[in-house]
Symmetry: C2
Subunit: 486 residues, 2 copies
């Protein structure tokens, strides 16, 4: 019997050669489509099509169809299997015989579907224990690796290119990945994506172990419904969070949600206070909504960590400042008290300035009535002063975008970049305005300069709150001498 952690998960994400086992009909949902997706995403290694009736197909994407992985000459590291549940154990057995290290069982109809499926899933676990092969799934869309074009999901994928970067997305649901999420519209780069499905073998702890060592991954966003093995999870999470931030959405945190989770995964989600404590002790940063899970990493990946939780905000109206202050408090941030030097500098711009939140509205209307030059000059003047204050750890700036400003957006983006240059503090933007297309265009231009922008103020501030929380966690881990885990 295989020992846990004997092998790492490299074969799931970085296989040299892949087998795709299942129907080769040229429609989404098949092994054919798995091959097609991988070719479109640019996976360059051999992909062997496997089907019990090879003569019906001949070649698929230039590769000969074989009736079994055992008929393939040359090594295979990973098999992606999408066949009826009853056929899967034999196929996985053959994979083990072939020396394949990793199998992704993409098919549905296992423990999540009832008694019969649960029995077959148990057979897969027996094979894992007997042979040491590793299985991801069943009931999964598998993995994506933006670095090598590996993409095992069988559905139609709207996005066949991915921005490569440092964020790993991992979930216990199929609704992530380029077939489900507007990854390119999120405007940050992806390292790995992984749907752990029914977790008959590979689970969240294994993934965190792998991602902790993955040099491409700088930030991990994790959706979980249950944790299979608390101590293993905590060990893996602490090892990871000593190196990089881990953002977690624990779904099923309400009682009704936990019941809904039990009915679709067959696993009991457990009581939330226990998860809360485990996640806190693991160094994970917890978010509350699906939207936050995917939007918070943008600030973590593009910006440095803050030294503390002292927050400043520059807004266009006093009302926005109050709302931002509420959001900051709820995100665990506290309002920075500006240094005398900052107060002095700000009040030289206008006697109305000097406190935090910085409401530049009145200054803007003064300057507008005097001249009609750059309407953002108040922002340009205040941003560097606020950023350089030693009492300020992180800042959200407000930007207005309307259709009439679209021609000016590149100049605004230049101004932001200049203002933030040379300061190693996390900064992000809340964009509001009169036109959604103009707001989205400004966000795109900011993201192109690695400056995180949000159309929702609360999420922008929550992201800085998560950055501050992780910064504190990391400092504590260092103090506790957690380095031995590295």
């Amino acid at each position: 019997m295989r020992r846990r952690n004997e092998t790492d998960l490299k074969a799931f994400f970085e296989p040299r050669a892949v087998a795709a086992v299942g129907s080769l009909r040229e429609v989404p949902g098949t092994a054919y489509w798995v091959i097609r997706n991988m070719r479109h995403f640019g996976f360059a290694g051999p992909i062997h099509p496997i089907n019990p009736n090879p003569s019906a197909y001949g070649e698929v994407f230039g590769a000969s169809v074989r009736s079994s992985v055992l008929d393939v000459t040359g090594p295979i590291d990973l098999a992606a299997v999408i066949t009826p549940p009853a056929t899967v154990p034999k196929i996985v057995d053959q994979c083990a015989q072939k020396g394949i290290k990793a199998v992704i069982v993409l098919s549905e109809g296992f423990a999540e579907a009832g008694e019969e499926g649960a029995k077959i899933q148990k057979m897969l676990q027996d094979i894992v224990h007997r042979t040491g092969i590793r299985i991801m799934g069943p009931n999964t869309f598998g993995v994506v690796n933006a670095a090598n074009g590996l993409a095992t999901m069988p559905p139609y994928a709207d996005q066949e290119t991915l921005q490569r970067g440092g964020v790993a997305l991992c979930s216990q649901t199929g609704s992530i990945g380029p077939h489900q999420m507007p990854l390119n519209d999120w405007n940050y780069g992806i390292s790995k994506i992984c749907d752990i499905g029914n977790k008959c073998d590979v689970d969240e702890a294994d993934i965190l172990d792998y991602l902790a060592d993955d040099p491409e991954t700088k930030v991990v966003a994790l959706h979980l419904e249950d944790i299979r093995d608390g101590p293993r999870f905590m060990h893996a999470a602490r090892r990871l969070t000593a190196r990089k931030p881990l953002v977690v959405l624990k779904a099923g945190h309400t009682e009704a949600g936990a019941r809904a989770s039990a009915s679709h995964t067959g696993s009991l989600a457990g009581r939330d206070p226990i998860y809360e404590a485990a996640l806190r002790q693991s160094g994970a940063v917890r978010v509350r909504t699906w939207q936050e899970l995917w939007e918070v990493p943008k600030t973590l990946i593009y910006q440095p960590l803050p030294e503390g939780n002292r927050f400043a905000v520059i807004t266009f109206t006093g009302g926005q400042g109050v709302i931002a202050t509420d959001a900051a408090t709820e995100a665990g941030l506290e309002l920075a008290v500006f240094s005398p030097d900052t107060v002095h500098k700000l009040s030289r711009i206008s006697p109305r300035l000097g406190s935090n939140p910085v409401d530049i509205g009145p200054v803007m209307s003064d300057s507008r009535s005097q001249s009609s030059t750059n309407p953002f000059s108040a922002l340009e003047q205040t941003m560097p002063i606020v950023l350089q204050d030693e009492n300020v750890d992180c800042v959200t700036f407000t930007f207005y975008a309307g259709l009439q400003l679209v021609p000016m957006l590149p100049a605004i983006v230049d101004m932001i970049e200049t203002s933030a240059r040379g300061v190693s503090k996390p900064v992000n933007a809340w964009i509001y305005g009169t036109s959604l297309p103009a707001m989205e265009e400004l966000a795109r231009q900011l993201h192109a300069r690695k400056f995180p922008a949000y159309l929702d103020l609360d999420t922008a501030i929550k992201a800085l709150g998560c950055a501050a929380a992780y910064s504190r966690i990391k400092a504590n881990l260092s103090r506790q001498g957690m380095e031995e885990c590295r």
Copy 2:
């Protein structure tokens, strides 16, 4: 001295003739620009430009410039004043002499700016008490009336047409209105917009009194930092909520937020539990974020009220169902238990169906592997069954939108409309998918059929939670015999 509520606020929203007092330079931020905005929004009544130096201008938009409202022949109902603070009291006095009922003081530099401004603001209040004239502001952008094109804000307004409809937006900050918010992208119709500013006279209670009687207004969204007079507010709010829903964002609900509010409005925001109780007793439905305040009304305006809080959701994955269940619990909804008839009908579609949340993912992949007809047929089959269940009060449907589906969107929208036809229960949609433009396009097409759609699951469900909360409030008010307030 004038008695409170002696006059209503009609003159602010439905004036026959308007005076615009201030600079007539052709730039944003002036009285000229106020006139320009009103003409662009289609206000058809006379607008008299007033400036101490009439010979410098001659005519503005075809109207002769006068040096004072007293020089205008013919009646004026409303004056919009944007002149330096020190000049305002005399101008308002002249307005009172002229018999003008309502003045909007658009200028800044009053109580929010310091001692000096506070003194001048006090002078305005004295004029109110002495003459009975009503003043909105100062430090406001005033009002918009989508029905008559009245629009008193002096800044550049990107959107010069408004979708006319039933939602009134009212705030204690200038960051609402067509010069600040993507109203047309929100895709619901507006009745009135009002920024109550420094509230030297007209306050939230007055506005609620007016909106309670306004036949154009069906839903009120209110942003507040403080309540000037608790009992008057509660009386007005209860009178309004007996007729139409009132959604409130109480900004400054954290201690730090309350301090920030005090520093920019000069008024103390007060302790949140007191507001919580007052708002609850007033029948208001409370939201927590800026985004919710503007997005929740979409469901209230387009959909009927639910009879109870029993919620159902149809999703494309089990994971989405768990997240939706958490969100429903937090929004005060409970998961509906389907009737035996519904369970029977659903299980005839697939043995995997029958419980709530309804996860149609497995059914969709089954049908996709059988034929490649309408991928939404599982949704088309399940929607009417769930909607017609007597144990279900409200429903969120999930829709997937990707670029490849854009040509199919009109058919999907038809299907949704057909499914919901003849059922008087509130329904909305969460749209997710692989392409933000495709998701936004589906939302637009749904909104054109008055079907509320959200790109954020939590906000969609929160909106149904608010509808259920208001439904309960309304039923309680009826039981308590609150009808005498009508």
